[in-house]
């Protein structure tokens, strides 16, 4: 079970870390000061979740690794985040919609993981859920604001939707390990979660008067370590010091 659990903890941790890393790129460059601070807040919360999840993964791993080793010394093919979170930050509409899709997923996921049979994960989920509820209020409001204001904003968020929509099914992908954890009530059934998620997303997109694109490339592969071209550059940047000066304390 430990191998499956470590795999899933890394899926969650990598998702939180890559999302945080992209949001953190906004720090000092936000559209206005209050929003600069708010984006950084979300980045910090996600980084906090990632840290807890990596620590837990390190603790149960058979290998002698630390949380930092997991974040800074694995290569692209070992990262398990969905492709959605490694995509570039794009403009503010793109960042906002990407965040909303993930927040909507996380709110449902952490609410379910709160009751996980695996106590350490239930604890992390309880903490993460509180923060995620705040995040979704914010990203939802911004989706509405951008969609129902100026033509320019509406056009930008529609363009973001066209680009991002088919990256979302990947959030619900499972494999043998995850199916085992679902059977053991360690994590929720993601197909059930998907129905709820779709309902909420449809409702918001409808309220925003946005058009769901008809077709596109459906992203897949993160769970198996198959990624887009973007992740390599992100890791290159993020892992630079640990790679250039191996074995140091920081």
């Amino acid at each position: 079970m430990n191998k499956a659990l470590e795999h899933y903890l890394l899926r969650l941790a990598d998702t939180a870390l890559t999302q945080s890393q992209r949001l953190a790129e906004w720090c000092g460059h936000g559209p206005f000061l209050e929003e600069d601070i708010a984006l950084t807040n979300v980045a910090l919360d996600l980084l906090g979740h990632a840290k807890l999840l990596y620590e837990q993964a390190a603790e149960i791993s058979d290998r002698d690794v630390s949380a930092d080793d997991l974040a800074f010394l694995r290569d692209v093919d070992a990262f398990k985040n969905p492709l959605l979170t490694e995509l570039p930050r794009g403009d503010f509409a793109y960042t906002t919609l990407k965040q909303y899709f993930l927040d909507q997923f996380n709110v449902l996921l952490y609410a379910a993981l709160k009751d996980s049979q695996y106590e350490p994960l239930a604890e992390i989920a309880t903490k993460a859920l509180k923060e995620t509820r705040y995040h979704i209020t914010r990203s939802r409001d911004w989706c509405l604001r951008l969609s129902l204001s100026t033509d320019e904003a509406k056009q930008k968020i529609q363009a973001a939707l066209d680009d991002l929509y088919f990256y979302t099914p990947e959030l619900f992908e499972t494999d043998d390990d995850l199916n085992q954890l679902i059977a053991e009530s360690i994590m929720p059934d993601l197909s059930v979660l998907k129905e709820h998620w779709q309902g909420q997303v449809d409702e918001l997109l409808n309220e925003c008067q946005l058009q769901v694109p008809k077709s596109g490339w459906v992203a897949t592969g993160g769970l198996r370590g198959e990624h887009s071209e973007h992740l390599g550059y992100m890791l290159d940047d993020m892992q630079f010091l640990q790679r250039a000066y191996p074995g140091c304390e920081w």
């Binding site: 790129e25 720090c27 460059h29 910090l44």
Partner: protein, 322 residues
């Protein structure tokens, strides 16, 4: 008398009676609040000083923001991200405090981007190495604390109150910087070298943060009388050197100043002459990163335009619907 020659907003003389009463309140350590009468020159001096301060916080996000995506551990990344976010928060408080003097944030932003308003010269130096995150926290936030602690007692209420909040966070910033330096100084040879190199580059610019030498400081006398300045530039600089030299010794790092030595008689460290030409040049816009910093601020401002507009229109629509 000191107040002679002060002009009101229309260029006429300030009423002598009001001026006297105003100075008396300041001498009694009373706080001046936004709705109180104040001389036009006091208001203008505060706007200049406070907006410069706010701009410094915002531009100051950039050199450290440069390392957020590359911080070497999860813990360091969290601390750095939180620290740079704090600086944005400081900018926000101080802009709000400055707005109580009758200037808008939009106007202050315009002044920053056009180059009319200044910000601290230190942020025009580059941060090519991780150790710069240590040096900035230790030295730059350290110098900021020296400057800002006396401002917690500034005569203008909103400024003093924002400084009290900010100073608490600055001491956390200083400690995390020193902690980075400590870790590097105890680390591998490459890390030690990194730490020493950062100290070499940031030492003199940090000393310049206290502004021109007292003999060349044009705003000092009046600002002291108005208690928006409590100690002279040179006194604060001396205090900073005295506190920082033992810290560098403790780290086992060498301060890049051959003239630096303890003066038993004065009870202070003597230190070498600052390169004032460099200081003036950086203030004028010719530092290594002046153009980059302003360009980054301008870019964020331009790219945020449609977002700010959307938020405004949406709010208006909501109001109209209500």
């Amino acid at each position: 008398m000191y107040s002679q020659g002060l002009q009101d907003a229309k260029g006429g003389p300030e009423p002598e009676g009001l001026l006297k009463a105003f100075q008396k309140r300041i001498d009694n350590e009373e706080k001046i609040e936004p709705r109180d009468w104040m001389p036009e020159a006091y208001r203008k001096t505060l706007i200049r000083q406070m907006s410069q301060h706010a701009h410094s916080e915002i531009v100051g996000q950039l050199p450290e923001g440069n390392w957020i995506t590359r911080a070497p551990t999860l813990k360091r990344k969290m601390i750095l991200l939180a620290k740079v976010q704090d600086e944005a928060g400081h900018g926000l408080y101080i802009y709000s405090a400055t707005e109580t003097l009758g200037i808008t944030r939009e106007e202050m932003t315009r002044q920053l981007l056009s180059g009319e308003a200044k910000y601290s010269s230190i942020f025009n130096y580059p941060t090519p190495s991780w150790a710069d995150m240590g040096a900035i926290g230790w030295l730059v936030d350290g110098a900021a604390i020296m400057n800002q602690v006396p401002l917690c007692r500034a005569s203008y209420g909103p400024y003093a109150r924002s400084m009290i909040r900010i100073c608490k966070e600055e001491s956390f910033h200083q400690r995390q910087g020193y902690d980075i330096m400590t870790t590097l100084a105890r680390g591998s040879n490459a890390q030690k070298k990194m730490a020493q190199d950062a100290l070499n580059r940031f030492w003199w610019p940090a000393l310049m943060m206290f502004g021109p030498s007292d003999k060349d400081s044009k705003h000092s006398v009046q600002s002291m009388q108005w208690k928006i300045k409590r100690f002279s530039n040179d006194d604060l600089r001396q205090k900073f050197v005295d506190v920082t030299v033992p810290q560098a010794e403790h780290l086992g790092l060498t301060i890049p100043d051959e003239d630096l030595k303890w003066n038993e008689e004065r009870g202070h460290y003597d230190f070498g002459e600052i390169d004032w030409d460099e200081f003036i040049n950086v203030i004028k816009g010719n530092g290594p990163c002046n153009k980059e910093r302003l360009r980054a601020r301008q870019k964020a401002h331009d790219e945020g335009e449609w977002v700010r507009k959307a938020a405004e229109v949406y709010q208006q629509n909501q109001r109209d619907a209500a």
